[in-house]
């Protein structure tokens, strides 16, 4: 076995997994609080890439800018994208999910699919049916790490994902709003009696999840250099797999699941054939749900009709 190749792929797997992990956080938070698979989440992530592209174009960002200007443009892009996507998340929850809350299970799931298709089609109308190039404005020199090489963008991807995950952990476990979210997820009625505004808390959950997805969208654009309106479907499904693998409702589990799925995808592509990567990921999903439906770190029973 070629260990250098394996190590190199491991680095690729971690940087891919970092993006999945950030998307998976959104799935797991929403599922944890209202037990809905938010099908539209993957498309919110892709929409994030598109909004970021539009913002960068608007700012006139290019690879020839001075470092300070570049940093400023990037900061503005991140801020704008995250806010726009967060707002989108709130709007989706308010109009597509909230009216159906408490109704029969199938209905919100079907609206979620409806939202997902609508977003995909809007993105297609906006930037066309082919993949769109994303300006490569961040210089991407490679560093050698013994026999391995790692790109600066990979470090940025992994680093920013870790920062976001840490920030989310702090938010959920150390703030009043985070406490309200955890309380609502545990028992909404008791939380209501304690004076927590359920509607605001759920909207906040969608906001935070969508903000993270938006950030992941920006990172994806910068990292891969092209974006495509259909990306969200597959990425969303894979990130959901990651959330399930880690134990749905558990934010640490989602992060762990993201890295594992990234690893599985990259290794399947390397050693079995890239065309089997998706099959491998979905097989993992099916096997986890059959043999350990609570996931790796999940404690609560996930099955609630």
């Amino acid at each position: 076995m070629n260990w250098v190749l394996f190590g190199q792929q491991l680095i690729n797997g971690v940087s891919l997994g970092a993006i999945y992990a950030v998307i998976a956080l959104g799935y797991t938070m929403v599922y944890g609080i209202i037990e809905l698979i938010n099908f539209a989440h993957g498309d919110v992530y892709t929409a994030g890439s598109f909004v970021a592209l539009a913002t960068l174009v608007l700012l006139g960002a290019s690879g020839h800018m001075a470092a300070a200007a570049l940093a400023f443009a990037l900061a503005v892009t991140f801020a704008v994208t995250m806010l726009v996507m967060g707002a989108t998340g709130i709007v989706i929850e308010r109009f597509a999910y909230r009216p159906l809350r408490g109704k029969q299970r199938l209905a919100p799931l079907l609206t979620a699919i409806g939202v997902s298709f609508s977003i995909e089609n809007l993105l297609q109308l906006w930037m066309g049916p082919s993949p769109v190039p994303f300006p490569q404005i961040v210089p991407n020199p490679f560093f050698s790490l013994g026999p391995l090489t790692v790109g600066q963008m990979q470090l940025v991807v992994i680093g920013s994902s870790l920062v976001m995950m840490a920030a989310l952990q702090l938010f959920v476990h150390r703030t009043r709003l985070g406490k309200a979210m955890r309380a609502t997820a545990q028992d909404w009625m008791a939380a209501e009696i304690m004076g927590i505004d359920i509607n605001k808390t759920i909207a906040l959950t969608f906001f935070v999840g969508s903000v993270l997805a938006g950030a992941a969208g920006v990172i994806t654009g910068l990292f891969y250099g092209n974006i495509w309106f259909i990306n969200g479907f597959r990425a969303g499904l894979i990130a959901f797999t990651a959330a399930v693998l880690g134990g749905i409702g558990n934010t640490t589990g989602a992060a762990l699941g993201g890295f594992l799925i990234g690893f599985i995808e990259v290794m399947t592509a390397q050693y079995v054939g890239f065309q089997w990567a998706t099959v491998a990921v979905f097989s993992v999903l099916i096997l986890v749900l059959i043999f350990r439906p609570t996931g790796l770190l999940g404690q609560q029973l996930p099955e609630r009709t």
Binding site: P99, L100, L125
Partner: protein, 397 residues
């Protein structure tokens, strides 16, 4: 009908002489569907536009698919988001058996049944791992299968033709009559198969198995405690559902002459599901109407609408209207339509009575929508709600 049954049980079995009267009695409730069927039988004689008949034949394929999916989703209440997988399996079965790819040229009619049976077997096989799952978990696993199956057909290039698929699939021959590329014989074949399927599905729905499906759909735990075997009941739902997609698949590829993996992506599963939901889950005639309406909407109406908007834009000098292409907006319209349908009329256009009762009922333990006061009101009335056990919420383990 009930009075008739009571009368019959008193009088004993009807004599042969009254058989004709009995047939009339039995088909009496289906008067309007039979009338509609008559109209569809006459349709190709009236409309000589081959394109329209062709669209109608393609719509009929989707009607069959919707009928099959309705067994899984509508009758048994199992949300299947990967139904196109079985459609693919049925299609490839016939393509393998009757094309130059393997040099096999088996006759169409027996293979039609074989394709359906093989799809049915795969329905049970892929259904088996999902038995322990419910609700949205089931949906996501079937979605996974729906992605895996076409990918496998795509990747096993040596055995399936890969991206290029299989071409030159044999066209059906009936008593020496070659179907060729004329849509009319396909149309009538599909109409006949749909008719048989509807009769079979209606009989199935009222059978012991069908009643078990409805019971499982409405309350799994209550059904199990009444002695219904959940495993067999659910597996048979998947299997019967897939069976009809096998029919549809074989007919579809025989008509088209080509099969490739991209004909079975998620949008196909989604379209069939949208047809079932639009028509009304569980309602056989509703689902047929839903499939017909949606198919004609996407193929004919959207094209016409585009042309109208272009000519209107040209007449009014509005460049925006001339550039609109409603065909490209298809999935946006589907998506928004699905949301609107779920918000305004979740039971579908032509609902089944029982489904309507379940869908419009609110589950007490879930979080109700609306403002705080409303929530507080529900919370306050909790003791009253305790008397009625939450039906959709109970867990198995």
């Amino acid at each position: 009908m009930a009075a008739w049954r009571a009368l019959r049980s008193i009088a004993g079995a009807p004599s042969r002489a009254r058989l004709g009267g009995r047939v009339v009695q039995r088909i009496a409730p289906y008067r309007s569907p039979l009338l509609v069927l008559l109209l569809f039988l006459l349709y190709p004689l009236v409309d000589h536009n081959a394109g329209h008949v062709n669209a109608a034949a393609d719509a009929a394929v989707y009607v069959l698919l919707a009928l099959g999916l309705n067994i899984v989703v509508g009758f048994a209440g199992l949300l299947d988001l990967g139904y196109a997988a079985f459609f693919a399996i049925g299609s490839y079965t016939y393509a393998f058996a009757a094309s130059p790819f393997y040099g096999l040229h088996l006759p169409f009619w027996p293979m039609l049944l074989v394709a359906a049976i093989i799809a049915g077997v795969f329905g049970a096989l892929l259904g088996a791992p999902t038995l322990r799952l419910r609700g949205d978990y089931l949906a996501i696993v079937t979605l996974g299968f729906g992605e895996i199956v076409p990918t496998v057909f795509l990747n096993l290039q040596k055995y399936t033709g890969g991206t290029n698929g299989i071409v030159g699939i044999d066209q059906p021959v009936l008593f020496g009559y070659h179907f060729g590329f004329n849509p009319v014989p396909y149309y009538y074949t599909l109409l006949g198969i749909i008719m048989l399927s509807v009769v079979a599905i209606l009989r199935l729905r009222d059978s012991r198995l069908g009643r078990a499906w409805l019971a499982v759909r409405e309350d799994e735990i209550a059904a199990a405690s009444m002695g219904i075997n959940l495993t067999t009941t659910k597996l048979l739902a998947f299997s019967f559902g897939a069976f009809f997609s096998g029919f549809a698949g074989a007919l579809y590829v025989a008509k088209l002459g080509i099969v490739s993996p991209d004909q079975f992506n998620f949008t196909v599963s989604f379209t069939i599901l949208a047809m079932v939901v639009l028509g009304g889950m569980g309602s056989v005639f509703g689902v047929i109407a839903g499939a017909g309406i949606l198919y004609e909407f996407q193929t004919l109406f959207l094209t016409d609408l585009t042309q109208w908007s272009h000519s209107l834009g040209a007449a009014l000098h509005l460049p925006l209207l001339t550039r609109l292409n409603f065909v490209n907006l298809k999935f946006l319209l589907y998506g928004l339509g699905l949301i609107a349908l779920m918000l305004l009329r979740p039971e579908g256009l032509f609902p089944e009575r029982r489904i309507k009762a379940i869908i419009t009922e609110r589950v007490s333990e879930e979080i109700p929508p609306g403002d705080v006061t409303e929530v507080a009101g529900v919370a306050g009335s909790a003791p009253a709600a305790e008397g009625t056990p939450p039906r959709e919420y109970a867990r198995e383990e």
